[in-house]
Amino acid sequence: MASNDTPIIQLKRIGKNYGAINALRGVNLAVRQGEVTCILGDNGAGKSTLINIVAGLFAYDEGEYLVDGERVQFASPREALDRGIAAVYQTLALVPLLPVWRNFFLGSELRRGWGPFHRLDIETMCAETREALHKMGIDLEDLEQPVGTLSGGQRQVVAIARAIHFGARMLILDEPTAALGVAQSGLVLRYIAAAAREHGIGVIFITHNPHHAYLVGDHFMVLARGEVELDAPGSELSLESLMFHMAGGAGLNVLQHELRGRNTATG
C-alpha cells in the first residue's frame, strides 16, 4: 500500500489520438485517497477518453500513467480493477434483463461446492447484495427483479455500491447525476462525499453540472477540445469562477463582447 502522499493514480502529459484526430493531449492529473476530483467539460472535450484510459478500456499514446507511483499500461478493465480502479459508466455496466443480485456479482460470482457441482452461492450473494445496498439507503424487497425495473438513482447506487463492495479504492463516476432528479441526485452526491471522506476512496467525478461538482469536489479540472482549460484546487476556486471556465472561459468574454447590448450572456 502506498503512503497517503503518493497519489493512487497519476497521469503525466497523457495524450490519445484516434487516427489523425487528437482527442486528448498534455493532461496532468493526480488523485489521492479520500479526494474527489471533478472533471468538467463540454461534449467532445475528452472527458470520456480520459476516464476510459484511467479505467483501462483504452490505451494511451503519449505520456505516463502511474498507479501507486508505478508505471502502467492496462490491457483491459480487468487489470485496472485488480489495482482497485473501477469505473461506473453512464450505462452503468448493468444488464437490464438480469436480476439485481446477478448484476451485482456479474464477472465476480461467488461459488461453492466442488467439481461438477461447483455452483453459484446464491444465498451469500443475495445477502451481500442486500447488505451493500442497505448501506447506501436502498432496500429492495425482491433481488430477483430485473435491474431494468429500478429507478435511475437506484441503478446508479447499485453500480457504485458494487464497485466499492469489490474493493475499489479509486472510483471513476461518469455523469452519475446526469439523468436524475433533485432528490435522487442528492442521494448520489451524498454517497460520493461519504465514499471519499469516510471510506478514503479516491473519486474522479465526471459531470456537466458545476453546481453538483462544487458541492463535493476537492479539486477541479475543466477540459476543452482535449486540453486542460482549468486545473485548480477547490480552495482557490469560487463557484462563479468554475462556472465561467465551464461555460467556455476566455472564449466567453469574446462572445459576451459580441452580444453586449442585445442579450446578457449567462455564465
Binding site: L97, L98, L106, G137, Q145, L187
Partner: protein, 344 residues
C-alpha cells in the same frame, strides 16, 4: 448514509404462484405444448396412445438436441444458421473418414467431433474478427457447408450418399452408445430421448447455477456491460458456437448409427427449426433472455406437430404451416408476457 436518505421503500407483495410461473421464459411454451397436445388428441385419437408419445418424443429429441445448444447461443446474443447442414457435415465427415480414409470407425467418429467443434470455433472466430452479425457469418458457413457436403461426397465416393458403415468393426458398440433403444415400462424408447433430456438438464444447470450461465445472459443482454465488468465475452461466444458444434456432432452420430449411411443433401432447413424451437421456448431473438427447458418444450411442440399431422392423416405439408403459425403466435405471447414480467 442513514435511513433518512433512503429511497422510497418498494412495497412488493409476495407473489402468487401462478404469477411466478407466468414470469418464467418457458411459460408460453408450456401453455402452447398443452394446447397442441389437446388439439391433436381431439383430431387424432391414436395420438393419445403411449406408442405415439414415444414417436413424438423421438421426433422432438432430433430437433431438441441441437435446439438446446442453439438456445444457449441465442441467449448469448448470436445466431447459427449453419446448424442444420452442420449435422449432415458431421455425419459425412465421420462416415467418409472412416470408410475412405482411416478404415477405422472410431477414427471417423473422433474426426467428426473435431471437425464439428472446428466449424463452431470458425463461426465464432469469424464473428469476432469481422465484427459482422452472426446471421451473415453463419449464413455464409451454411451455404459453404451445403455445397461442400455434396461436392466432397461426390468427389470421394462418386455418389451422393456414403457407403454403409454397418459392417465395420465397432459398429455394434457405436450403435449401442448413440442409437440404441431401451425398454421403459413396456415401451421402447430411443436413447436419443435420454441424451436430449440430459443435455437440457445440464444446460439448465449451467445457465442458472454457474457463473458461465450468468455470463451468457449478460453477454446476450448487454455485451458492453459484461465486458466492462470483466466477463470474457469473446471466449464465451466462441465456446457457445462450439457447443452448437458438439450438439450437431452428437445428433449426427445418432443418425449415422441409426441409418448406417448418410445422404449428403440432408439437413437443409433444419437450422430454422432449431431456432424456431428456441424462440417458441421463450428465447429472445436479441439475446439475454430465455431457457433451456423452453427450447425442449419448443422441440416437443414441433415433435407433436410432425407426428400429429401424420396421425390425423393430413398432408405432411401442413407441418410447415403449423411451425410458422406457432412461431408468430409464440413470439407475440412471449413478448407480451415478458413485458408483464418486467413491469412486475
Amino acid at each position: 448514509m442513514t435511513s433518512d436518505m433512503a429511497a422510497p421503500r418498494r412495497q412488493v407483495k409476495p407473489q402468487a404462484l401462478w404469477k411466478q410461473v407466468l414470469k418464467r421464459p418457458e411459460a408460453g411454451a408450456l401453455g402452447g405444448a398443452v394446447l397442441v397436445f389437446l388439439f391433436f388428441s381431439v383430431m387424432a385419437p391414436t395420438f393419445r396412445q403411449p406408442a405415439a408419445l414415444t414417436t413424438v418424443l423421438y421426433q422432438a429429441s432430433t430437433i431438441g438436441i441441437p435446439a438446446v445448444a442453439v438456445a444457449l447461443l441465442m441467449m448469448g446474443g448470436e445466431f447459427d444458421l449453419s446448424a442444420g447442414v452442420a449435422v449432415t457435415t458431421s455425419s459425412l465427415a465421420a462416415s467418409i473418414f472412416a470408410t475412405e480414409v482411416a478404415g477405422n470407425l472410431w477414427a471417423g467418429v473422433i474426426f467428426a467431433l473435431l471437425f464439428s467443434l472446428g466449424i463452431g470455433a470458425l463461426n465464432g472466430w469469424l464473428l469476432i474478427r469481422t465484427k459482422l452479425h452472426s446471421f451473415l457469418v453463419t449464413l455464409g458457413t451454411f451455404l459453404m457447408l451445403q455445397g461442400l457436403n455434396i461436392a466432397i461426397t461426390k468427389l470421394i465416393t462418386g455418389n451422393v450418399a456414403t457407403r454403409d458403415i454397418s459392417g465395420m468393426a465397432g459398429f455394434k458398440l457405436g450403435q449401442a452408445i448413440f442409437a440404441s433403444t431401451i425398454a421403459i415400462g413396456g415401451v421402447q424408447i430411443s436413447i436419443a430421448i435420454v441424451y436430449w433430456l440430459i443435455f437440457v438438464a445440464i444446460a439448465t444447470w449451467v445457465l442458472l447455477r454457474t457463473n458461465v450461465g450468468n455470463w451468457i445472459f449478460a453477454i446476450g443482454g448487454q455485451s458492453d456491460s459484461a465486458r466492462a465488468v470483466g466477463v470474457p465475452v469473446k471466449r464465451v461466444k466462441v465456446a457457445l458456437f462450439m457447443v452448437v458444434g458438439f450438439s450437431c456432432w452428437f445428433l449426427a452420430m445418432h443418425q449415422l448409427f441409426d441409418y448406417n449411411t448418410v445422404q449428403s443433401g440432408a439437413g437443409i432447413g433444419n437450422e430454422l427449426l432449431y431456432i424456431a424451437a428456441a424462440v417458441v421456448g421463450g428465447c429472445l431473438l436479441t439475446g439475454g433472455y430465455g431457457s433451456a427447458v423452453g427450447s425442449a418444450l419448443g422441440a416437443f411442440i414441433f415433435g407433436m406437430t410432425t407426428e400429429g399431422v401424420i396421425y390425423a392423416d393430413w398432408d405432411p405439408d401442413w407441418f410447415q404451416f403449423f411451425v410458422g403459425a406457432m412461431l408468430v403466435l409464440a413470439t407475440v405471447v412471449n413478448t407480451w408476457m415478458r413485458l408483464r414480467a418486467v413491469k412486475g
